[in-house]
Amino acid sequence: MDFDFSPLIDSWRFLASGLGMTLLLSVTAVLCSFALGLAVGLGRLYGPVWLRVPLVFYIDSMRAIPVFVVLVWIYFSVPILTGRSFAPFWAALAGITLHVAAYVAEVIRAGISSIRKGQVQAGLALGMSRTQIIRDILLPQAVVRMLPAFGSIISVTIKDTAIAAVIAVPELMRQAETLAGETYRPIEIFSTIMVVYFLVIFPVTRLIDWFYGRVAHLGRS
């Protein structure tokens, strides 16, 4: 068995563009799902019943359906329903965001619920409004407690972007597949891509763990 890494050297720009797309998709998906997840999480905690019931249903459904299925459904079915087609990137962003936001919402709910009730009562007794209590008392502590869970959500999101290859988003996984098909060197290419993904995901999780270690005391009460 002999290895030939020359396709990787010849086509490094092709793969690098894939890495760029992976990073772009990861960053936008993380930002969008945190924004949506925050809204859903708060809506589920403090919203009226007619809002809470569908939100719980949405969160639990996303926990039951694979991302792969969500992505494929959006990419192939939405154009049929609306009569309008869109770039695979947007389908991937929408699918990953819908999926990850449900997990973000759960983490936010668990984080806020973990703060003792007495603190809310103390705030109310002092004459603070609900918004003030959430903003000034609950969130600052809860955010610190949520950090480890957010870290794993970010790493899951980066890993999920690889699934976008299935709907032909030209990210790292897809570019690797294409190159492997053209050069018949799948072992060299996929093994190299493994190292690249590891070098992206591992430091991100480690960085968040390290940061949490430094600020963990701020979340204790």
Partner: protein
């Protein structure tokens, strides 16, 4: 737009078989990956540095890779490494086991570490053997912390089995995608696929919540 939902009913037995393969993959992976996780967790605590280092490397590598990449990698690399051609099912199973064993090992490790050292020392001080301490003091407590996380891992795994469809394992996602491309009933088949996953996954997610409430440890 004309929809024809009869295709879903016509292909009910194919979809049923696909769902069975999905369940078989999930169950088999867990059956292999729970002992696999225990072995890895024990290896990480080993006195021999090389063994501990190997286990740490294994866990960190397979925890920090996209599963889809692992599936492709297993598909192309395993036949070369082992010199036998494996069925897509076995290949998919291998990729899932590598991934889930790494996750489980972290679950077991943190479960065991969460039991304070003082308890082990107390057990040893009253003359219990290391095995006795582990079986009678650590394990019964650690189990309650491990079980809810294993349940969550089970649900993630159930969903992740859809990814082995890319190497043509005939599970639910692959079956539905095949019927879609043969019948051109795209919207109907994809919606049916989502609905079947939902019907199977929703009770599992709810059961997981119940296990968390019932067995979860509150600090």
């Amino acid at each position: 737009m004309k929809l024809d939902w009869s295709i879903v009913w016509q292909s009910r037995w194919l979809l049923f078989d696909g769902a069975l393969v999905t369940i078989a993959l999930t169950a088999l992976t867990m059956i292999i990956a729970v002992p696999g996780g225990i072995v890895l967790a024990l290896m990480r605590g080993s006195r021999f540095r090389a063994v501990a280092l190997f286990a740490t490397g294994f866990v960190e590598l397979f925890r920090n890779l996209p599963l889809l990449l692992l599936v492709y990698w297993a598909f192309y690399v395993l036949p070369v490494l082992t010199d036998v051609s494996l069925s897509p099912f076995t290949t998919g199973l291998t990729a899932l086991c590598l991934n889930v064993s790494a996750y489980n090992s972290e679950t077991f490790r943190s479960g065991i570490n969460s039991i304070r050292k003082g308890q082990t020392e107390a057990g040893l001080a009253i003359g219990m053997s290391r095995v006795q301490v582990f079986r009678q003091i650590v394990l019964p407590q650690a189990w309650r912390r491990v079980l809810p996380i294993l349940a969550s891992t089970w649900v993630s795994l159930f969903k992740d089995t859809s990814l082995v469809s890319v190497i043509a394992v005939g599970e639910l996602a692959h079956t539905a995608m095949q019927i879609r491309s043969q019948s051109f009933r795209v919207l109907e088949m994809l919606t049916a696929m989502g609905a079947i996953y939902w019907l199977m996954g929703y009770p599992q997610a709810k059961l997981t919540d119940w296990i968390h409430r019932r067995y979860g440890v509150r600090e």
